[in-house]
């Protein structure tokens, strides 16, 4: 319900003031009175709210037009509708009054029916104005809430991203004869890439790379969960059987994860991964590929080529069989794992970077030390992208065994 509209009647003639008051009160207005412009201005400045001013034009000290001008000069927060009563008929007078800020006129001697009709119009305008103000206020409040929520979401995203990044291994690390180099270039919209490697009790090295489907804090947090689950223990004791410190086959690590993450009904979080074990003494690489892009092997003397025969992603359907691929790595052979953020990195006209370009690049940088491989991939992708940020996380994990 809008508040009762409040009118200020300004006239030096008390009889006129009372007459106008009676008519406006009958229309449901609350009435205040002033006998001249100065008193009127003082009331406007101090009264809680005036919606309408009905003023005589011809008044001593300050005429109605000047009064209008001074009302407008007050710049009240809420618009005041001004109606001037006048016997004047000249167009120039009306123009001057409107210029000064008058909204409407009523001729004197006035017809009470006309005044009532004018008041009806004023009430409609006031109702519109009040609705508009309410809507504006609602919009402002909604906007504030949105901004607040957005800021909070952004903070949560940043926190999730920080948690994710903190768990990544250092960019360059040597473990026995194996040298590892890695990098993750985050996309603007964070996503769920994760990788790690660690020594297993028998001296071999367990490693993995994971890409959780989807984007945002949820994917990042899932990647954090997977980092927690995928430790040396999962590679050695993960299936509940004793292996006397020897890692079991990578495909059983993946099967175990699939068993754990396949939901009964709705598919929620699923991911692709490479999970493997590297024996640094024999150079045997054994890995399970679950929907993740093929690892690239760069032999000392030979063209880079993809290895692995594909496999089902994890967390989609139960009862999926996973298998391992075994590759013998001669000393100096380099292996590069990457997320699909590399091969599906799109150029400005939408073309994917693709496996072929990646293989060519890895061939070109084969003489560079391993820690420069991920930099080279990152630079090549930036150039391919045309200098803009990535749509998806770009992760690269490279390793080689030295004799």
């Amino acid at each position: 319900m809008p508040e009762t509209p409040r009118v200020l009647i300004v006239d030096d003639d008390p009889v006129m003031r009372d007459l106008v008051s009676v008519i406006t009160m009958a229309q449901g207005f609350e009435v205040l009175q002033a006998s001249d412009g100065a008193e009127g201005l003082s009331i406007i400045r101090n009264a809680p709210r005036i919606d309408l001013v009905i003023s005589d034009w011809e008044m001593p000290f300050m005429d109605g037009v000047e009064f209008c001008r001074q009302i407008r000069a007050l710049h009240m927060p809420k618009y005041i509708h001004v109606l001037l009563l006048t016997a004047r008929q000249r167009q120039a007078d009306f123009l001057a009054a409107m210029e000064a800020g008058a909204d409407d006129f009523l001729s004197k001697p006035f017809n009470p029916a006309m005044l009532s009709a004018r008041l009806g119009v004023t009430k409609r305008l006031l109702a519109l104005q009040s609705r508009l103000m309410q809507n504006n206020e609602l919009l402002t409040r909604t906007n504030e809430r949105l901004t607040e929520t957005y800021t909070k979401l952004q903070e949560d995203m940043d926190a999730a991203a920080r948690a994710q990044r903190r768990l990544l291994p250092e960019p360059l690390k040597t473990m026995g004869r194996a040298h590892f180099a890695s990098c993750l270039v985050p996309s603007a919209d964070i996503s769920g890439d994760m990788y790690n490697f660690f020594e297993l009790p028998d001296g071999s090295i367990g490693f993995y790379m994971v890409d959780v489907a989807g984007h945002g804090a949820r994917a990042a947090l899932m990647s954090v969960t997977l980092n927690r689950l995928l430790n040396a223990d999962a590679f050695v004791n993960g299936d509940g059987r004793q292996h006397h410190g020897r890692p079991h086959a990578p495909h059983s690590v993946v099967s175990e994860l699939n068993r754990r993450f396949v939901p009964d009904s709705e598919i929620v979080d699923h991911f692709t991964m490479i999970c493997g074990v590297l024996d640094q003494d024999t150079g045997q690489l054994r890995f399970c590929q679950a929907g993740h892009p093929h690892p690239v092997v760069v032999p000392r003397n030979g063209a880079p080529h993809a290895v692995g025969s594909g496999g089902f992603p994890v967390g989609l359907l139960d009862g999926m069989d996973y298998d391992d691929t075994i590759v013998s790595l001669a000393p100096g052979t380099r292996v590069v794992l990457h997320s699909d953020g590399v091969t599906e990195c799109a150029s400005p006209d939408g073309e994917f970077y693709g496996e072929a370009r990646l293989h060519k690049l890895l061939d070109e940088v084969r003489e560079l030390p391993i820690d420069q491989v991920s930099d080279a991939v990152r630079e090549a992708l930036y150039a391919w992208r045309g200098g803009t940020g990535f749509d998806d996380d770009v992760s690269v994990l490279a390793f080689e065994i030295h004799s």
Partner: protein, 110 residues
Amino acid sequence: MLTITQANGTNVLTIDAGRLDAAIAVRFKDTFLAQELSPGPVLIDMTGVSFIDSSGLGALISIVKHLKLPGRPGICGLQPSVKTMFSLTRMDRVFAIYPDVATALATPAQ
């Protein structure tokens, strides 16, 4: 995005999404769940899909799970990048893959 028609007693789901990726995966799945299917085999026509990512695959598999079919649903019209993704992720274990709608409909349901 998704239209369902009947052909020789088979429900043909035609996906016309361009990219079936993380951006539309959830909307795609919900659109499917809102539709009525007749009893009988299902064929998914992917001719209108030029790219699929793992979220898109997740949406397709959600649909398959929801259908609870006795055998594998058919899928056809895989464009090169979709075909690559299907082979990388061994989707032939979930779908019977055909070159096109005509071939699929001419093959007895499995």
